[in-house]
């Protein structure tokens, strides 16, 4: 029988050893400096020099409404963001040096994977309030994050006239503009012009034509499937987006005006069955593809058609990210295939958000003014010197319709197509119960992709969604 003191000592020492390993394994993530990863925070010459001195930041007037005199000199802002290789974000990071020179405010980019960004916003706001100052967020996350954000309207007047109404709607909660859209997309249909031409096919414009084209391409002996989609669960409701567009193109929608499910109506089931049937003409792994996988599959030439956001055009035009044939032969249209309900595409936006617990809110506003200035918005899509910094993402209608953006050396008319698409684009539904509902629906789509009956899966999902809505008091 061992002595009690020996047992106690052994127990304590064992615990200490285990805890020391555990603590050693857990490292607090350091805030990423502005030049982390692929980002090179070089001086950017975005702002036009109109003769006034912009370098010395004294009481000289500064552009874009920035406050002169560097009132926030020495402030360190933490900017929560994802996707460090996104061209637009690289452009932002490049501009930090100039912003700092003008305002004295330093901006630290903290990068998180897209799938974990919402969690980061919530957990940091709860567990470490004040640890971040500005973030960008998916529009559909807005209502569930509103408790952690201060509306931008409280800090500045925003002229929304130059923004697509759909993106402003998305960023508005309870008639209050929470953030300014800084990364806006519209759903596009991309296709290989060379493949369609080789098979004597016209660009498909209806559900039936899409199916026929996809089938013809898959059956041809060209080593390529007809179409690729993303069905896999990814978190954040990403797989719901193209499906939502399919429902609307079929003349139905996810919910009615009271947020009662209509995604299991006969029309919605038929539309979903059409969408699921396309898997027969997609790469075999499509049911397990997330959004990035489906984009990559098209860029690698595995499939001839894909529904993807407008920003994907950057990838399909980048010879380092796509095959030569894809770069040379990608066509596009913002008209979603018509399933009887029209061709309007879905639009989405990433608004900016100021943390309600930030200790640097006024400085954060300065950074938002910088991010959303019209010159950066236009230059980002007009200058194509470097593929890694070449983006088609613009938020202002004036930028999208400009000659500079649509010149053959820039986007060769692509920006104009986006501009026209926004005139009919519809926003995704934005509601408080999105986290729960999106999990239910992503699971249902995943089951359908694995072979489950469409009606059964959607009816079961509708029951669960009803329960969530009732528990939240919506009806």
């Amino acid at each position: 029988m061992r002595k009690p003191s020996t047992l106690i000592t052994r127990w304590i020492v064992s615990l200490l050893v285990v805890m020391s390993f555990a603590l050693a394994a857990c490292g607090a993530p350091a805030d990423a400096p502005a030049d982390s990863g692929n980002v090179d925070a070089t001086t950017d010459t975005t702002a036009e020099d109109d003769g006034e001195s912009m370098a010395d930041g004294d009481m000289e007037e500064l552009p874009y409404g920035l406050q002169p005199g560097k009132p926030y000199d020495g402030t360190d802002l933490t900017f929560l963001i994802c996707c460090p290789t996104a061209s637009q974000f690289i452009v932002w990071a490049d501009s930090v040096a100039e912003f700092t020179e003008l305002t004295g405010i330093n901006v630290n980019f903290t990068n998180d994977p897209l799938g974990g960004l919402r969690e980061k916003i919530v957990t940091e706001s709860l567990g470490n309030p004040g640890s971040w100052d500005v973030t960008i967020y998916f529009d559909t996350w807005g209502p569930s994050l509103a408790g952690f954000l201060d509306p931008i309207e409280e800090f500045m007047d925003v002229d929304v006239s130059d923004y697509p109404p759909a993106t402003i709607d998305i960023a508005t909660l309870d008639d209050t503009l929470y953030g300014i859209p800084v990364r806006s997309h519209v759903m596009m249909f991309y296709y290989r012009e060379d493949v369609l031409e080789e098979l004597g096919l016209e660009v498909p414009t209806t559900f039936e034509e899409i199916t026929a084209a996809a089938q013809a391409i898959s059956e041809a002996d060209n080593g390529m499937e007809g179409i690729v989609m993303n069905w896999a669960k990814q978190g954040g409701g990403i797989s719901l987006i193209p499906w939502t567009n399919v429902l609307r193109a079929a003349g139905t929608d996810m919910f009615d005006a009271d947020f009662r499910p209509t995604f299991n109506s006969p029309e919605a089931i038929a539309a979903t069955e059409w969408y699921a049937n396309l898997l027969n003409y997609a790469p075999a792994a499509s049911p397990t593809y997330n959004e990035g996988d489906s984009r990559t599959a098209y860029a690698n030439g595995e499939a001839a058609m894909v529904f993807a956001w407008s920003w994907a055009y950057e990838i399909f035009q980048n010879p380092e990210a796509s095959t030569e044939d894809v770069v040379a032969n990608t066509g596009y249209t913002a008209n979603f295939p018509d399933g009887g309900g029209g061709t309007a595409p879905v639009a989405m936006a990433w608004p900016t958000g100021i943390s309600s617990s930030s200790k640097n809110k006024e400085a954060a506003v300065e950074w938002i003014k910088w991010l959303t200035n019209e010159d950066m918005d236009l230059q980002a899509i007009s200058v194509k010197d470097d593929p890694s910094r070449s983006t088609v993402v613009a938020n202002r209608l004036s930028s999208l319709s400009s000659e500079a953006a649509n010149s053959p050396d820039a986007n060769d008319g692509f920006s104009q197509a986006m501009f026209e698409a926004y005139s009919s684009a519809t926003a995704l539904p934005v509601y408080l119960e999105f986290p729960e509902v999106s999990e239910i629906l992503e699971t249902a789509l995943s089951e359908i992709a694995a072979g489950a009956d469409v009606a059964e899966a959607l009816n079961a999902a509708a029951e669960d969604v009803d329960t969530v809505m009732q528990e939240s008091g919506r009806y």
Partner: protein, 288 residues
């Protein structure tokens, strides 16, 4: 007497660290498990609701699905790990050439992080492109149309593979140690009595290895019951909920739906199971 008191004094700082980083959070989770709190609806915890979160778990189909999936996962991992480990132990025991190198290499799979294993296997299983998929299509052409990570049953098996791929060799090393502790005279006696190799293995080796096998079963169960990383990197719980283990289910409730009250209750249920298994494991060790 004074020496005995001084040594506890030196242990005190470490104990305080454990108190702050472990004991306090555990009590916080216990407290939360009795409250209603959906973070996105309210930045502060809601009212106390008694055992409602625990009752919700016991009546939640998704919870029982997660329990079933976890049990199936543990059984697959444990069975294959022990089987592979036994095979390796018996084979390596006979190897004298480069035996040290072989034994060192056996640790290698376990040293690879779960995340790296998960992504690697995911890409290797990519239909029509992954190297593992192509090998399987060649070796077993009747499975050529199977989408490994998109099939409700196969997806769970393949999520288990990276785990027993690592545990198998480690189990082999542990079993090898136990094997080498068995007196060779027993095997010589069996051989003299005319016992075949299979009879010797089944009637002599296996019973003598039973204690080590039991320890391994407990240890592997303890580790695999908490599986999260491979689910996150390979399937995200899909297709549907076919690979949603309990730990992943808790993560989804807590960090995707942000229902912290319910997630805390689920975490406590899992903790109770883990405490029981840890107690069993410590009892077995003490007995050894």
């Amino acid at each position: 007497m004074r020496n005995s008191n001084v040594k506890y004094l030196f242990l005190l700082p470490g104990f305080l660290v454990i108190l702050v980083t472990t004991i306090v959070p555990i009590f916080s989770v216990v407290n939360l498990s009795f409250q209603e709190w959906i973070v996105t609806r309210s930045p502060t915890p809601g009212p106390y609701i008694g055992f409602d979160n625990y009752i919700k778990a016991l009546t939640d189909d998704d919870f029982w699905n997660a329990v079933t999936i976890t049990l199936a996962y543990v059984v697959i991992v444990t069975a294959f790990s022990i089987a592979i480990g036994m095979f390796i132990a018996v084979m390596v025991q006979r190897v004298t050439f480069l035996s040290t190198v072989v034994k060192t290499l056996l640790i290698f799979p376990f040293a690879i992080s779960l995340t790296l294993r998960g992504y690697s296997f995911r890409f290797m299983l990519l239909e029509g492109q992954g190297v593992l998929d192509k090998i399987l299509d060649t070796v077993s052409p009747w499975t050529a149309d199977v989408l490994w990570l998109g099939h409700p049953y196969w997806a769970l098996f393949w999520v288990a593979v990276p785990t027993f791929w690592a545990w198998g060799p480690l189990a082999g090393l542990m079993l090898l140690g136990a094997l080498n502790n068995i007196s060779t005279e027993i095997f010589e006696a069996a051989s003299l009595d005319g016992a075949s190799r299979w009879r010797t293995f089944w009637n002599i080796t296996m019973p003598l290895l039973r204690p080590m096998i039991f320890v391994l079963v407990l240890l592997i169960t303890l580790f695999s019951i908490r599986m999260f990383d491979l689910v996150l990197t390979m399937t995200f719980g899909g297709p549907g909920r076919a690979t949603e283990t309990l730990n992943f289910f808790i993560y989804r409730i807590g960090f995707k739906i942000f229902n912290m009250g319910y997630a805390s209750a689920l975490a406590m249920l899992l903790t109770i199971v883990l405490i029981f298994l840890s107690y069993l494991y410590s009892r077995v060790l003490i007995t050894e």
